[in-house]
C-alpha cells in the first residue's frame, strides 16, 4: 500500500458496530467502506457526487460517501445498506422496492433506499413531488423512476402487504442460504 506512513486513525460506528481504522487520509469514505470494511453494498457510480449510488447515512443524514474523507466521519455513526434491515426483518422500503418493481439492475438501489430512508425519517408522509425532489440526486438508468416513487409511497403508507413481505423475506433467505451452500 502506498503512502503507508501517512495513515490516520479514524473511529466510527457502522451499522451499530464500532471500528477503529488506520486509513489513508485522502481515501474517500466510499473506499473505506468498500475496501477497508468490505461493505460492498454501497456502490461507486461517478466519483463526483452526481449519481447518488454511494449514498449512506451519516448521523442520520443522507451523505455522498464518494465526497467524504475519513476525517469527516471520525466519531460518526454510519448506516449503510447492510444495516438497513433489522436482522432478518427487512425495512419497509426494502420490501416495497423488491415487491413493486422499484429496482431492475439494482445498482442504484442501495443509495436510493438510504436517501429514501432519510426522507421518511424527516417526512413520514411525503407527496410524490416531495419524493421526487428528495431523490433528485439519485440516478437510475433502468426504471424511469415511476416504480421507485411508487415504492417509497407504498412504504410510507405501510401499504406493502404482510403476506407479500413474508414471501419475499423467505425467498431472500432461501436464496442466500442456497448461495452459501453452492460450491466454488
Amino acid at each position: 500500500m502506498s503512502g503507508a506512513g501517512e495513515k490516520q486513525v479514524v473511529r466510527l460506528t457502522v451499522n451499530g458496530e464500532d471500528h477503529e481504522l488506520l486509513v489513508r487520509p485522502h481515501a474517500t469514505v466510499l473506499e473505506l467502506l468498500r475496501e477497508d470494511l468490505r461493505l460492498t453494498g454501497t456502490k461507486h457510480g461517478c466519483e463526483l457526487g452526481e449519481c447518488g449510488a454511494c449514498t449512506v447515512l451519516v448521523d442520520g443524514q443522507a451523505q455522498l460517501s464518494c465526497l467524504l474523507l475519513p476525517g469527516q466521519v471520525d466519531g460518526a455513526c454510519l448506516t449503510t445498506i447492510e444495516g438497513l434491515a433489522d436482522g432478518p426483518v427487512l425495512h419497509p422500503l426494502q420490501r416495497a422496492f423488491a415487491a413493486l418493481g422499484g429496482l431492475q439492475c439494482g445498482y442504484c438501489t442501495p443509495g436510493m433506499l438510504l436517501a429514501a430512508k432519510a426522507l421518511l425519517d424527516t417526512n413520514p408522509t411525503p407527496s410524490r413531488q416531495q419524493i421526487k425532489e428528495a431523490l433528485a440526486g439519485n440516478l437510475c438508468r433502468c426504471t424511469g423512476y415511476a416504480a421507485i416513487v411508487d415504492a417509497v409511497e407504498a412504504a410510507a403508507l405501510g401499504a406493502v402487504e404482510a403476506a407479500a413481505q413474508d414471501a419475499v423475506e423467505a425467498a431472500a433467505l432461501g436464496a442466500v442460504e442456497a448461495a452459501a451452500r453452492t460450491p466454488r
Binding site: 502506498s2 461517478c46 463526483l48 447492510e82 438497513l84 423512476y145 448461495a179 460450491p183
Partner: protein, 809 residues
C-alpha cells in the same frame, strides 16, 4: 458484519421468490438480494490475494505509437507487471463482427482513450499511479472526425481500404415517382451514451489447468469467451465465464472492454486480478450510440397518402467496426417507418472516423431513423393541413403490409390503434396550480384530443404557482409561468426483434426436475444474461407454468451451458424464453413416458398427450393422476435444448430485398411539454404511450421496460449527448453528461396491447427497445409545437429553442 464476496458468491441460485406462472406480476427472485446490498455485482468481487488492474489510454484520437517505456512503472513498488501488445499471446485484435480492434494498441491509436498498456498492482491507487508512469511517445496523424468528410475521396483513411463500413441500399417501386406534396429535411442525432450506473468491472482468476475463470458483467458470455480465448491463445474450454451482477447494460456491454485485459494480467501474474473503471474511463471504455445525419424527402398525394420516401443517411461508426454493419442494416430496413409506402429509395452508409467506436445501444439504428422519419411526418402533416395522427393512421402499416424490403408483415401490426390510443389518453391538467401529478401519479383531466388540427401548441399555460419542479427550470425558479407555452407531439416507431439478415439466432436452456420426499423442484440454467430486465423472473415463470412445479431455482448464467446469444435486440424473452419452454417440453415428454408405465397406458395414448401438469401432478383427462415428484424421485429428468426462431435471410446487395427480420415491436407516444420559450427550458409534463407486446409474460416488468425505455428517449430528446471536439470527448462525467433525474421524468400513461404473434413462443413480442424509439420524436414534436422552431437535431439545446437551429456541425 462484513460481506467480502468471494468470486463464487456471484453464483446466486435465485429461487422461491417467484410466485406465479406466465402472465402474472411475479416478483423478481433477485429483488431482495438487491434491496439488501447482498447481490454480488461484478465490482463487488473480492478474494484473498487479488491484485488490481489499470489501463493506460491514448490522449490522442489519432497518432502513431512511436515507443512505449514501461520501466518507470515496473520500478514502482507494488506494481506486478505492465503489459503491451507484445504480451498478447494469441490474436492481437478482437471485435464483435470482425476482429479489427487491437487488444492493446500496436503501432497506431485511432481514437481518444484507446488502450495502450495495462498494469497490475497491489491496490487500485498503486495501479493508477503505475499506469501514469508508463511513458508513451506519440506522433500525431491526420484526423478525420466528420463522417461525411470521411466518405469523401481523399479523406485520411482510418483503416487501409477506405472509410466505408457498409452501404445498404433499399429500392422499391418507381424511383422517379412524383407526388403533389413534397417535404424534405436534414436531421441530426447526437452521440448518446448508455450511461449504465455500474461501470465496467470484473475479476479474472487463473486456473490450475492453465486456463482462466472470468467473472464479468456482460451481455453475451459466449462471444466474450471466444474473443478472450482467441487473444489468449487458449482453447475455448479453458476460458470459463460466469455472469457477475450487471449494473445495467443497454448495449454497452455487447463489446469486449476489460475482459481480455483482466485475463492477460491474471495469467501473467498468477494472481486473481480485479478491475473497475472510473466513470470517466467508462465513457472511453465502451461503444456509444451512432451519431447520424439523415436527409429525407417524403412525397404524398393531397389526401395524405404517401407516394414515396427517399432517405440518405450517414452513421458515424467511429474508429472500429463493433456492430456498425448491423446498425446500418436496421436503419435501412426500418428507415421508412411503420407505414405503407409504394416507392422507396433508402441509402445508409456507415463510416469509420477517429471518433469513439459506436455500436449497440437500445434501439440499434432504429432510433436515429425514427427521429427523422417522424419529424418528416409532422412536416408533411403541416404541409397538408392534417392532424399528425390522421396522416400517420392513413398510412399505417397493418398485418399483411409489405415492407420496403419486400418482406410481408405476418403478425399483428396495430400502428393505427396505438396512435389512436395515445391520442385519446387522459390529459394532464391545464394551467393548474400545485402538484400536477396528483396523489396517485395519474394525470387527471378530461380525455380527448390535445392537439389542434395541425398539432399546434395547446396555448400558453399561464402563470402558475405552487410546488417547485413543475415548471421549466424546476427548482432554479427561473419563471413563474411567464413565457411558458405548452405543446403536444405524437410519434410512432417500430423495431426488429432478434437478430436479422440471416444470422443463426438461437439460445440454449437446461431444465432439471427432481423429487425428494414427495417435494418437486426444478432448476433452469442458461447462459442468458440478466442485466436488470427481469429475464430470471420470466425463466422461472415459464418453468412453473410448463411443468406445474412451484419451486424453481434459476441458476447463474455461465458458459457451462450452450450459448444463449446476447441480451440485446429485445430478444431474450423470445429466444431464451423459447428455449426454456422447449426444454420443459422435452422434460414433459419423459414424464409422459414414465407416467404411461405407471398408468398402464400406451406411450402414444391420446389421453396422455393431453395431460396437464398442474400443482405437482400429472392429470389425465380420463381422471388418471400421477404425482410428478414420485416419477422423478431418485431419477431426475434433465433436458438441454437448443432453440431457434424462424430463419431470416440476407438483403439483396443492390435492392435491399429480403426477409431480413423475424418480428417487429411497435410503440407510440404522445408527449406534452411546457417550454420556457425565453430561456429555452423544457419540462415534460406527461407522456402517454401504447405498445403491443404480444403477450405480457410479466405485466409489471413490461411496464417497467416501457417506463425505462421511454425515459432514455426523453434523455436523447432533451439532454444526452457525448460532445466531441476534434476527436476528443468534452464531457466524460455525470457532471457534464446529463441523464434524466427523477424530477425530469413525467407521469406516464401506459397502455399495453396483447395481440399474439402466432410465430413466437406464447405469442410474445420483444419489449425492451420500442419505447426508446418514438419517445424522442414525440417530445421534440411537442417542443416544436410550443415554439414553432424547426428543431432538426437531438438533443435539443436551449439555444436551439431560443435562437433556432444552429448550422449542423
Amino acid at each position: 458484519m462484513t460481506t467480502a464476496l468471494q468470486p463464487g458468491d456471484v453464483r446466486h441460485r435465485l429461487g422461491r421468490g417467484v410466485d406465479g406462472g406466465i402472465g402474472t406480476d411475479a416478483s423478481r427472485p433477485d429483488g431482495t438480494l438487491k434491496a439488501t446490498g447482498q447481490f454480488g455485482f461484478s465490482s463487488d468481487l473480492w478474494t484473498e490475494g487479488m491484485i488490481w488492474g489499470a489501463t493506460v489510454r491514448s490522449p490522442h484520437p489519432h497518432a502513431a505509437v512511436v515507443s512505449v517505456d514501461v520501466s518507470a512503472a515496473l520500478g514502482m513498488p507494488g506494481v506486478h507487471c505492465v503489459l503491451t501488445h507484445d504480451d498478447v499471446p494469441g490474436r492481437k485484435t478482437y471485435g464483435l463482427e470482425s476482429p479489427d480492434q487491437p487488444v492493446l494498441a500496436i503501432d497506431e491509436v485511432r481514437y481518444q482513450g484507446e488502450p495502450v498498456a495495462v498494469v497490475a498492482a497491489d491496490d487500485p491507487e498503486t495501479a493508477r499511479r503505475g499506469a501514469a508512469l508508463v511513458r508513451v511517445e506519440y506522433r500525431l496523424l491526420p484526423l478525420v472526425v466528420d463522417p461525411v468528410a470521411a466518405l469523401a475521396p481523399g479523406a485520411p483513411e482510418v483503416h487501409p481500404g477506405g472509410n466505408l463500413v457498409r452501404h445498404v441500399k433499399i429500392r422499391r417501386g418507381d424511383p422517379s415517382a412524383r407526388a403533389e406534396v413534397v417535404v424534405s429535411g436534414d436531421y441530426e442525432v447526437g452521440m448518446q451514451d448508455q450511461a449504465f450506473l455500474g461501470t465496467e468491472s470484473g475479476m479474472a482468476v487463473p486456473a490450475e489447468d492453465g486456463g482462466v475463470d472470468l467473472y464479468i458483467a456482460t451481455q453475451w458470455l459466449h462471444v466474450d469467451r471466444d474473443q478472450v480465448a482467441a487473444s489468449l491463445g487458449l482453447p475455448p474450454e479453458k476460458v470459463r465465464l460466469t455472469l457477475a451482477g450487471v449494473g445495467g447494460a443497454f448495449g454497452a456491454r455487447e463489446d469486449v472492454s476489460l475482459q481480455i485485459h483482466l485475463c492477460l494480467l491474471a495469467l501473467r501474474t498468477g494472481r486473481p486480478v480485479k478491475m473497475v473503471y472510473s466513470r470517466q474511463e467508462s465513457f472511453f471504455g465502451h461503444v456509444h450510440r451512432h451519431p447520424a445525419r439523415l436527409h429525407y424527402t417524403h412525397g404524398a398525394d393531397r389526401e395524405g397518402r404517401l407516394v414515396f420516401v427517399h432517405a440518405d443517411m450517414v452513421f458515424d461508426g467511429g474508429a472500429y467496426l463493433s456492430s456498425s454493419t448491423a446498425v446500418v442494416g436496421n436503419a435501412a430496413t426500418l428507415g421508412a417507418g411503420p407505414y405503407d409506402v409504394p416507392n422507396v429509395s433508402i441509402d445508409v452508409r456507415g463510416a469509420y472516423t477517429n471518433n469513439p467506436p459506436c455500436g449497440a445501444m437500445r434501439g440499434f439504428g432504429a432510433v436515429q431513423a425514427c427521429f427523422a422519419y417522424e419529424s418528416q411526418m409532422d412536416k408533411l402533416a403541416a404541409a397538408l393541413g392534417m392532424h399528425p395522427v390522421d396522416l400517420r393512421t392513413r398510412n399505417a402499416m397493418t398485418e399483411g403490409s409489405s415492407l420496403p424490403t419486400g418482406q410481408v408483415v405476418d403478425s399483428a401490426a396495430p400502428v393505427a390503434e396505438l396512435l389512436n390510443r395515445v391520442r385519446v389518453a387522459p390529459m394532464p391538467p391545464v394551467a393548474s396550480a400545485g402538484d400536477a401529478a396528483g396523489p396517485t401519479g395519474d394525470a387527471a383531466g378530461p380525455t380527448g384530443d390535445a392537439a389542434g388540427p395541425t398539432g399546434d401548441a395547446a396555448g400558453p399555460t399561464g402563470a402558475r404557482s405552487g410546488a417547485t419542479g413543475l415548471l421549466p427550470g424546476g427548482v432554479a425558479n427561473t419563471t413563474h409561468g411567464e413565457g411558458v407555452v405548452r405543446g403536444v407531439g405524437f410519434a410512432v416507431g417500430f423495431k426488429n426483434v432478434g437478430y436479422s439478415e440471416g444470422f443463426d439466432d438461437y439460445s440454449t436452456a437446461r431444465v432439471l426436475l427432481t423429487g425428494a420426499g414427495g417435494r418437486l423442484m426444478a432448476s433452469v440454467h442458461s447462459a442468458a444474461c440478466e442485466v436488470g430486465q427481469g429475464l430470471v423472473t420470466v425463466e422461472a415463470q415459464i418453468v412453473r407454468s410448463e411443468l406445474g412445479v412451484d419451486e424453481v431455482v434459476v441458476e447463474t448464467a455461465d458458459t457451462q451451458v450452450g450459448s444463449a446469444g446476447s441480451t440485446s435486440a429485445s430478444r431474450q424473452t423470445y429466444v431464451t424464453g423459447g428455449a426454456v419452454r422447449a426444454a420443459c417440453q422435452a422434460v414433459r415428454e419423459e414424464l409422459l413416458a414414465r407416467a404411461a408405465a405407471v398408468l398402464g397406458l400406451e406411450p402414444d395414448d391420446p389421453d396422455l398427450a393431453e395431460a396437464e401438469l398442474v400443482g405437482g401432478k400429472l392429470l389425465c383427462r380420463s381422471g388418471g393422476t400421477v404425482v410428478v415428484a414420485d416419477l422423478v424421485e431418485g431419477s431426475p429428468v434433465e433436458r438441454t435444448v437448443q432453440w431457434r426462431h424462424r430463419p431470416t435471410e440476407a438483403l439483396h446487395p443492390d435492392t435491399g430485398q429480403g426477409r431480413a427480420h423475424v418480428q417487429y415491436s411497435f410503440a407510440a407516444h404522445r408527449a406534452i411539454v411546457d417550454v420556457d420559450v425565453e430561456l429555452g427550458l423544457v419540462h415534460v409534463v406527461q407522456i402517454a404511450t401504447a405498445q403491443d407486446v404480444g403477450r405480457a409474460m410479466n405485466p409489471a416488468a413490461v411496464v417497467g421496460q416501457i417506463h425505462g425505455g421511454t425515459t432514455q428517449g426523453i434523455g436523447l430528446a432533451l439532454m444526452e449527448e457525448i460532445q466531441m471536439a476534434d476527436g476528443k470527448v468534452r464531457n466524460p462525467s455525470f457532471t457534464d453528461y446529463l441523464i434524466p433525474t427523477m424530477p425530469d421524468v413525467p407521469p406516464m400513461h401506459v397502455e399495453v396491447l396483447e395481440l399474439a404473434d402466432p410465430h413466437a413462443p406464447y405469442g410474445l413480442r420483444g419489449v425492451g427497445e420500442a419505447p426508446t424509439l418514438s419517445s424522442t420524436p414525440a417530445v421534440v414534436a411537442a417542443v416544436r409545437a410550443a415554439t414553432g422552431r424547426a428543431l432538426a437535431r437531438v438533443p435539443v439545446r436551449p439555444e436551439h429553442i431560443v435562437f433556432g437551429d444552429l448550422t449542423p456541425q
